[in-house]
């Protein structure tokens, strides 16, 4: 089983729209590519919105732990507040309380409280789901707003999807990744065989592209670049292509700005399904073909 992760550095470049289209295209292949898909953008899990899916099972995500003060035992000595490095224990009128959004769950307060008034409580920070998207298994998750440990939930989604793929001998795991370069991205990229970077020809897109490429290099994951909305600013596209050339990276797609992508999203479909003949759909299909060929070649080499 091969694992491809779709990343971008900058948010909103089109990771999810492209992933949804790839899922649709893979189902059209003859024989259909045996693919499992995972949405690891757990803060903003949108893939499900454009893949008509039916939930098959769900589970709770145990995130971090939270300190809880037993007010009956607390003598308001203030030790907890002193040792907390996250400013998570404010006090007013002699009463100390834990700010659940600031608490890191480190337990420094639990260990230092002379009265033993603090304990750690496990938090349910989100949910994960296994769904069926017209025959394609979809794993996704929802992190409750404001929670920590999104990297851990990304890991959980990937683990579920990987186990499912391996047990049933699927060929490919396609992972829709989160934006950025930090904790959730590191979880999403680790162990992948290929990162497909979706960028856009803007000043921010180029800057964030360099950061995500450094990240994939750092974790020894091969990367390819796809330029979305390449025609909104051709000078920017030139800059990206030049960067890729100088680093010896393949540009595997140039997708034009096309309102049908948004029209399809509003209808709840991948663009390749709603508007198969549109310019974006045709370009996405070419990109997917290149990525798949590349994967086949690399499989033969392995």
């Amino acid at each position: 089983m091969k694992e491809i992760v779709v990343l971008s550095g900058k948010g909103g470049t089109g990771k999810t729209s492209l992933t949804a289209a790839f899922v649709h295209l893979s189902s059209l292949e003859d024989p259909p590519c045996r693919l499992v898909v995972g949405d690891t953008d757990v803060d903003a899990s949108n893939l499900e919105l454009v893949l008509s899916s039916r939930q098959r099972s769900r589970g709770e995500f145990e995130g971090g732990k939270l300190a809880v003060i037993d007010q009956k035992v607390c003598t308001a000595c203030g030790t907890c507040q002193e040792v907390c490095r996250f400013d998570a224990i404010p006090s007013s009128q002699g009463e100390f309380r834990v700010d659940p959004l600031a608490c890191e769950g480190c337990a420094a307060c639990v260990y230092q409280c002379p009265e033993g008034a603090l304990t750690l409580q496990q938090q349910i920070a989100g949910e994960w789901y296994h769904a069926d998207a017209e025959g394609i298994p979809l794993f996704h998750a929802h992190l409750f707003p404001g929670q920590e440990n999104s990297g851990k939930l990304v890991h959980l989604v990937k683990e579920k999807a990987q186990a499912y793929s391996r047990e049933r001998d699927y060929q490919l795991l396609l992972v829709d990744g989160p934006p950025g370069v930090g904790c959730p991205v590191i979880s999403a990229v680790s162990g992948a065989d290929l990162a497909l970077i979706v960028t856009e020809p803007t000043a921010s897109g180029l800057h964030d592209l360099t950061r995500i490429l450094e990240t994939t290099d750092h974790f020894d994951v091969r990367s390819m670049v796809c330029i979305n909305k390449f025609d909104i600013y051709p000078e920017g596209t030139d800059d990206i292509e030049q960067l890729c050339r100088s680093q010896g990276r393949a540009v595997v797609g140039k997708i034009p700005y096309d309102p049908s992508v948004t029209f399809a999203m509003v209808q709840g479909f991948p663009v390749t399904k709603a508007y198969p003949g549109s310019p974006a759909s045709r370009a996405i299909a070419r990109t997917w073909k290149i990525v798949m060929e590349w994967e086949c070649v690399s499989q033969e080499r392995c």
Partner: protein, 289 residues
């Protein structure tokens, strides 16, 4: 007055709005500041072009065990909730990339064998833009997972600037880095696009602003694409739509080239100043109650 610009979904135009707002306000408030808290993808400087005058490392205090003092009792490993210390054969191994810098291990060590040493997570920079905007940003090092300490250290480094308008460019999402960026703000401007993705992620971030008890309003970017879902949601939840930025290829091109809204189209200056005033009024109204 601290205003955070946030969005659940990435790429909706947070940086566009934040930099445009700073640019529009600098005439009236020469000390206006922009803090780029999107430390994983800090892009505001691409639009404001500041000269960085001052910088310092963002660090995390990580344990260092003195082997000659350590008795191998394992108290540190037991206390660490992040599995950043392991004891095997009475020897402690530290995994710095798992450490959250809480200091609990050093506090529980009965032999006082643990010293804490700063480990670099990224860089903090500050300076002024040619237009006079006071810029500050954090930049997370590649391969480092922890954005939150970089954000909190950036904000602490800049604190004391609060007499003048401060605009915070927050990261996307709805989890801990966003919470850390918005914490302590007077108001949050939620930037979204009028699409199902935009709506889904607006709902997420709106719940975070509610949990933090912050005044919030919405800016709809790329107005005209998509559907009515965002407008309906805002109406049903009493969330004011403060401004609409139309989808316009010329605007998209200007932004792509690294220009601020105001530099592309001067008429944005007045709109953005009005936006600031409306948010300020909302904050004052809340405080008055």
């Amino acid at each position: 007055m601290i205003m955070a610009v946030a969005s659940g979904k990435g790429g909706t135009g947070k940086t566009t709005l934040a930099t445009g707002l700073a640019r529009a306000l600098v005439g009236e408030f020469p000390e206006v500041a922009l803090w780029d808290c999107d430390v994983e993808a800090p892009d505001a400087s691409l639009f404001l072009h500041p000269d960085w005058m001052d910088e310092k490392e963002a660090v995390l205090l990580c344990p260092e065990v003195a082997p000659e003092v350590c008795s191998g009792c394992g108290a540190c490993a037991e206390a660490c909730q992040f599995h950043a210390l392991m004891v095997f054969n009475k020897q402690v191994t530290v995994f710095p990339e798992l450490c959250h810098g809480c200091g609990s291990c050093a506090l529980v060590c009965p032999e006082q064998a643990i010293a804490e040493r700063p480990r670099s997570l990224g860089i903090l920079q500050r300076g002024g833009s040619p237009a006079g905007i006071r810029c500050a940003r954090g930049k997370l090092d590649i391969g480092q997972p922890l954005a939150v300490p970089v954000i909190s250290q950036l904000k602490r480094w800049q604190s004391g600037e609060t007499g003048n308008p401060v605009i915070i460019d927050a990261p996307p999402g709805a989890s801990c880095p966003v919470v850390e960026s918005m914490r302590g703000s007077d108001a949050v401007i939620l930037v979204t696009e009028p699409t199902p993705f935009g709506l889904h992620d607006l709902k997420q971030i709106y719940r975070v602003t509610q949990a933090l008890g912050l005044v919030a309003g919405v800016v709809i970017n790329r107005d005209g694409v998509g559907d009515q879902g965002v407008e309906d949601f805002c109406r049903d939840h009493g969330l004011p739509v403060l401004m609409r930025i139309p989808y316009d290829p010329d605007l998209a091109r200007g932004l792509a080239s690294g220009k601020t809204l105001v530099d592309i189209d001067a008429s944005f200056e007045m709109q953005l100043r009005e936006l600031f005033q409306r948010v300020k009024d909302m904050v004052l109204e809340r405080e008055g109650r």
